[in-house]
Structure formats: C-alpha cells, structure tokens
Symmetry: C2
Subunit: 464 residues, 2 copies
C-alpha cells in the first residue's frame, strides 16, 4: 500500500507524518478497551518501540477489534497526532483497522515477564519480546558494523571453508561430517573406516577456525577478514560455550603484533560506538533492565587507551597484588578468568592487552620471540568478562615454524600449503579472533550465550 509507513520512520521523522493520514501494519503487543475508547500498542518489528493506536470503541466497524488476542496482526489506517501531554510523543487515531491474522488466545508470550530459560523453549517466538527484539537487532547492527569497519579500510572479506579435511591446530574437538551409512560403515582391509567411500574421499570435519586459510589470502590481499560460523564439539554445558558460533578473524600482512593490537582496539571501539549510536533505544533498555551501568562500562571502553603489559609482568603483578586466587599464579600457567578480570578490573581499570605468553601454552603458528621461551601472542582483556580477543603475530620463518611443528609432532605434509606461504614471499603478518557472540553478550549485558544466538546449538540441543 502506497502510504504505508514503518514505525521506525514515525519515530525518526515524525514531523513528516504528523496530522497526516498514514497506514501501518504490525502485531498487537497490548490492548485495553473501555466503553468509549480502545488503546492498542502495535509493533511492526522495524523499531524497538511500539506506536499507540486509539480507536472509538462505540463505532460499528471496530466491533471485533477490542476482542483481538495479543499478537494478532493488523493493518491500521488513521491519522498521526501529537500527544504533548502523554508519555509517548504521538499516537494514531484509527479510522479503520483491518484484521490480517487473528492470533490464538493461548499465545505464550503474554504480558507477564517470562524467564529467559522458558523463552529458549519458544525460540521461534522469543524475538517478539522486548529483550530479544533488542538483542537480535543489536546483533544485526553489530555484524554490519564489523563489515563496515573492515570494508572502509579495504579489507577483503574472505569466506574460508566450513568443511575441512585438516584439523587446523587441534584448537578443539571437531564434528565429523559424513555421508557414509552409519549402520554399515565401509572398512578397509585393516579394519579401519574406509573414508575413500565418503563424500570427500577422506575424513572431513567442521572448521574450528578459518585462520590458516585466511593467512593464504592475507599474503595475496594484505588485509583480509573472515566472518562466519565455526564449531566446537566440546561437551561443556556453560553459559559461555556453544557448539556453533560466529567468529571474526582478520589477518594483516606487513604487520606485527603492535599493528594487530591497534587493529583490535580500533575495531572494538568502532563496533561498540556504532551500536550505541544506531540503537539508543535498545541500549537504554539493556542499561535499565539487563545490566545496570552497561552504558558507563561501554563508554569507558570507547574512550580508554587500552593498556599493554607482558605476560611476565602481569604474572608478577598478580603475585604481588595481595589477593588470593583460587588458582595460584605462577609463570607458565594459562591465566584464568579470575586473573584476567583482576588485571583489567582492579589493576588497570580499563581494557588491557597481555602479550608475549609462554610458547608452551600457545599454538604452533605463533611467532617465537628472541628469548626462545615466549611467543608474540596477545589476549585482549576487558572489564566484566576477561578475554574477548586472542591474537598473535604468525611465525613467518620457515625453519623456525618447522622446528616448532616437529616439537609438537605435527606432520609437515598435512600443512604443505601453509608452509609454502613461508617459501614464496613470506612477510611478517598477524591476526586475531573475536568470538562474535561474546562481543554481543558484552554489548547487551546478556549473560548466557544461548540468549544471543537465534537458535542456539549446545550439547543435547538442536531444536528448531
């Protein structure tokens, strides 16, 4: 219909529509009617807020309207009128209300507050609630901000493969992908599974990281990024782990660990600021109902210069800070969340990059420092969460990389193409990985990863 307008436009450009006849379509969020007037809060999904529709309950053509169940879809033809004395800035005085789809009265999302746990069982309906409409619009806007940040600087978006015959770095438990008949798997003469019969002719898994592939493209395009799903078949039932999640992995050539940290800091600040600018209504909601102080926390991130400290220095700080940790701190340990949070929240009071970790707790491809004991890795720690980004400069020296692989008993033939990147014009290069859902949890204050993924997949859970 030609003069149909989105509710977002009513709020953003109300002058254009005030005192004019307009048409909106949407779903009923609330409805109350007296003998004289009826009031409907309509939401059309384009905007966090509803618009109030007023109708004359005495008129014949509104006869059925006051009996409509919540969530019915309607089209409203009426006049937009300013309401200077009311809470909302304007309302629509209805001339006609067309019922498009009458909802059943057992609609599960009635006005009373539901637990997030319950709402997960109706994942197909929960985006219609305030909290989840805010979460998933913010997720969308944040995803776009990530693309915009990189594309504006000429980074090439690289779709690295989901199905992979290599297991990257042993970064985590992998899902097997197969078309074999599981009732009757073909066997070789030695009694092993005969993967020659499988779709790809060999063992194939779901990727845990696109990094090694992204490195190939960074050595062609200089600056690239991936943004796609990755998988872990880890049997961990926590609020921070999902079997399927999205990762952002930029990779930059002619760049070292300093450049990498600069990029990570710039990206975090850009995305957080972009979301706060584009979604003020959603962010105010989170600040009020989900995490008190959220906006202060995020503004602090955007305006701080992130700190930098080496792992070795950080370990000394933690040992001397007077606090007793559950896991004692010793040089060589993998820092735990309690250590990370103490560093960023208590010692630095702002985000901090910890650099130069012991090589034994980090992956084979990280660049060995001159001390022979540490690698040019960094984790970015932020208040309230601990690690949000992990990155490193990559080992570009073929001999050093081969020696490290031998130490870890990785087979060179499995990585022939990765090694060739070091043979044909290697450069220093670096990159990092950001778990996208962790970022969305951070920005929204939502505390369970299941509540920032539209249809989450976790141990025992793949419904919808």
């Amino acid at each position: 219909m030609k003069n149909e307008v989105l509710i977002k436009s009513l709020y953003r450009n109300s002058e254009e529509y005030l005192s004019k006849d307009i048409v909106i379509s949407g779903w009923i969020r609330t409805l109350r009617a007296s003998n004289a007037f009826g009031f409907i809060e309509v939401n059309d999904g384009s905007f966090f807020k509803n618009v109030q529709v007023v109708f004359d309950n005495n008129l014949e053509n509104f006869k059925y309207v006051s009996k409509l169940p919540i969530s019915s879809s309607i089209k409203v033809i009426g006049t937009l009128v300013a309401t200077p004395d009311a809470k909302q800035p304007f309302e629509i005085q209805a001339k006609e209300i067309v019922i498009e789809g009458m909802s059943s009265s057992d609609y599960p999302l009635q006005k009373k507050r539901h637990t997030f746990e319950y709402l997960r069982t109706i994942a197909h309906l929960r985006p219609r609630s305030n909290a989840f409409s805010a979460v998933f619009r913010v997720r969308s806007v944040a995803a776009y901000a990530i693309h915009k940040f990189f594309q504006d600087q000429g980074f090439v978006y690289t779709n690295t493969p989901i199905l992979t015959g290599s297991d990257c770095e042993g970064a985590g438990e992998m899902f097997r992908v197969t078309t074999l008949d599981l009732h009757n798997t073909p066997k070789t003469e030695e009694g092993n599974i005969d993967y020659k019969e499988d779709f790809f002719g060999k063992e194939t898994n779901l990727t845990v990281s696109g990094q090694l592939n992204a490195e190939c493209y960074a050595l062609a395009f200089r600056n690239v990024y991936t943004f796609g799903p990755t998988f872990r078949a880890e049997n961990s039932n926590t609020a921070r782990h999902a079997a399927e999640f999205w990762m952002v992995e930029p990779e930059i050539a002619f760049a070292d660990l300093q450049d990498d940290m600069e990029l990570a800091e710039g990206m975090l600040k850009y995305v957080i600021k972009y979301v706060m600018d584009e979604c003020p209504e959603e962010m105010a909601f989170f600040n009020q109902f989900i995490e008190k102080g959220l906006l202060d926390k995020l503004n602090h991130i955007v305006t701080s210069d992130f700190g930098k400290v080496t792992y070795t220095e950080a370990v000394e700080m933690l040992k001397n800070c007077g606090k007793t940790f559950e896991y004692p701190v010793e040089w060589g340990i993998d820092l735990q969340t309690e250590h990370e949070r103490y560093l960023t929240e208590e010692i630095f009071k702002k985000p901090v990059f910890v650099t130069d970790y012991p090589k034994d707790i980090k992956a084979f491809y990280m660049r060995l420092n001159d001390d022979g004991k540490t690698v040019a890795a960094t984790d970015c720690l932020v208040p309230g969460i601990g690690e949000i980004i992990g990155g490193s400069q990559r080992e570009e020296r073929l001999d050093v990389l081969k020696a490290r692989m031998a130490e870890l008993e990785l087979k060179e033939e499995d990585y022939w193409w990765y090694l060739e990147l070091r043979k044909y014009g290697e450069t220093k290069h670096a990159g990092f990985g950001l778990g996208f859902e962790r970022l969305i949890m951070y920005i929204t204050g939502m505390s369970n990863i299941r509540d920032v993924i539209p249809f989450p997949r976790t141990t025992g859970q793949s419904d919808f």
Copy 2:
C-alpha cells in the same frame, strides 16, 4: 612505518603523493633489469593494479635486488614521480629497497598463463594472480553490497543455524554431522543407530536453507535476511554445483509476491551497480579477458525493467516459438535451463520473473493460488544463465498449509514451531533465495563455481 601507503591510495589520491617520499610494501609481480636500470612491478594486494618501481642497477645497495625471484616481498622507499609519457600514470623512483621475504625460484605462478584447472591445485597461491585477485575482491565487495542494501532499509541480519535436526523441505541431500565413533556406532535394541548417544541426542545435519528459521524472525522483525553457508551432499560434478556455498535469503512480512519480486529486482540492480562503481579495474579486466561484452550485459540488467510472465503464459510462448528444445515443453514440467534462457534471451531480451508455477513441482510452503493448481512462486531468469533467484509467497493459512503437508506426507510434529507461526498472528509474507556464487559467476563471467570460492568443496575435493 608512518609514511607507508597502500597502492590503492596512490591510484585514488595520486596528487597527494606526487613528488613526495613514500614507503610501500608488496610482492614482486615482474622484474626486469638492464645494466643501467631495473623495473619492478609491485602489488601489495590493496589494489588490482601494480605500481612500477625503478631502481638504479649500478648502485651498490641494489646489488641483490635484480636477482630477486618473482613473489619476493619487499619494502620500497622512494619518490612518486608522474610519468606522463608512459602507460602507467606514475612510478616510484627507489632510494632503498628492503628485502622482507625472498621467494624460492620455483614459485609456481610465473608470468606465463596458467589454466584455471591448474590454479585450483594451488588454491593457497591463486589469489595472487590477476584473475583471482579480481574475482575475490569482487566477491568481497558484492557481499558488502548485499549487507548494505538490506541494512540501509532496516532489515535485520539473522544468523540461522547451520546444524539442524530438521531437514527443511527435502531440498537436497544432506550431510550428517556426528561425534559418534564410526567404528562402533551405538545401536538401539531394535538395531537402529542410537542417536541419543550423539552430541545433540538426535540425528543432525548441515542446513540446506535457513528459510524456515528466517520466517520466524520475519514475523518478529518484519524484514530480515540471512547470508551464510549452506550445504548439499549431491554427487554432481558440474561447473555450477558445490557441496558448500553461500546463500542470501531475505524474508519479508506484510508482503506478497509482487513485493518479493520488487525486492529481488532492486537487490540485483543495487549489487551489480555497486560492484561496477567500486571495482572498475577488475570489471574492465573481466570484460577484456573473461567474458567479452560483460559490461554491456550487466549495464543492461541495471537499466532494464524486469519482465513478468506467468508460468502458464511462458509455456505457451515456448510451445509456439517455433524452436525445438531438447526437453519438450508441456504444462507441468519443470523448466529446463534451455527453456529459461530462451525466455530471457530471445523472447524478453531482458531479465524476467516467471510466476505461478504448478504446485507439484514446488515446495510445500509456497502459497496456493485460488486456481488450486499453481502456487505464488517466482523464478528470476537472467540472460546468459537462466534462473538466478527463486522465491515465493509463503502459505500463511494454517489449514491450507496442513492440508498440503498431509498430501506430501510431512509430519506435523516435525514442523510444530513452523506451524505455530500461522497460529499466533500470521501475516502474508514472502522471500527468496539467491545463490551467492551464482551471482559472482554472473558478475565476473567466470564459468566454474570452483573459481569463485576461495577453497571450493565438491565431490571428492576438500583440500586446503
């Protein structure tokens, strides 16, 4: 380094740098040296074109430079000088050339032309070639254009799940995802595979489409889109099929088939124009070396009003056109590529939407027309390729949808949440699917899908 500059900036803002000292880093594409001078074509991945570096071959500090193998990485410090009499607009007169990574002399991408088939065997290096650097930059820019097109209109980007316990619509053969021990799969008492022991506690596959999940979100946010990987385990070894590919699936509420076609036409024109505007050098390359007439073809798409014809009319046209097709045309058949191409290339001479297909050749969720025989589906056909987009209005009437599912023997309990969308405030809604790689093939003129995916996965092929 502070005054380091990307080659793209040299071309786009050359005035800023002319006659100034600059630093660039990149890889040697070609190198030739006489006794007096040496000439290096350097590419840094930021831009399709190289920049020429000239050095004085007599000077001691360039002693090793003239012997560098192709693909070595270097840093060049020098002055950008205009070259009004030469083919290229400027060159860098080198003061210093630092060797960062010396390539091995057996670098496989020497200047001679290689077949695309050969280049697939070195997928880690092929983005360094002209053709593939153009293809994969265009792929990145087109992906961004898709996001921008939808986000500018307030569409919510929805990440639908990759791992799924439902098989959507039987749209294609699926990959099984499992963590079971394939040597020794657990069995139930009846001798079936005991999926209770598997990671998700039931059979799980890789998605073939996010549509059903996207519909849930369209009925909350009104306008949404997906953009992510999808999978087909079909054993087809063609130039147009891959086991892993990316799909774009918008879904719009309060919208019918006409709105759907308008959206599809707008999106195609927007993305094609955006790529032509942003990547003129790449597009000129494709036009010259990959598909003669490509730019004319694409300009024609951007400026045409797409045609519209019903399936029934189209069948009549094909039957009466005087051409003999390999597959004879009869009402009820699924149109073949030869028919589709004849329609768009010979009859309409522009893109055309064919609408209202027989229900028996279309999916269960498509809206039944009043004739009881056809559904509100559409395929968008474009010259040179045939179908590029398939869409439909969705069946929003619960009783009609259930009847159709019963006809096809689909179990209601498998689709309980999908059916509930029709119970709690249904609206007319519609959507379409675009195979992203098909679009990239169309825009670049590349004729094999393996050459528009960084690391393609096809039957028997999951290397890298």
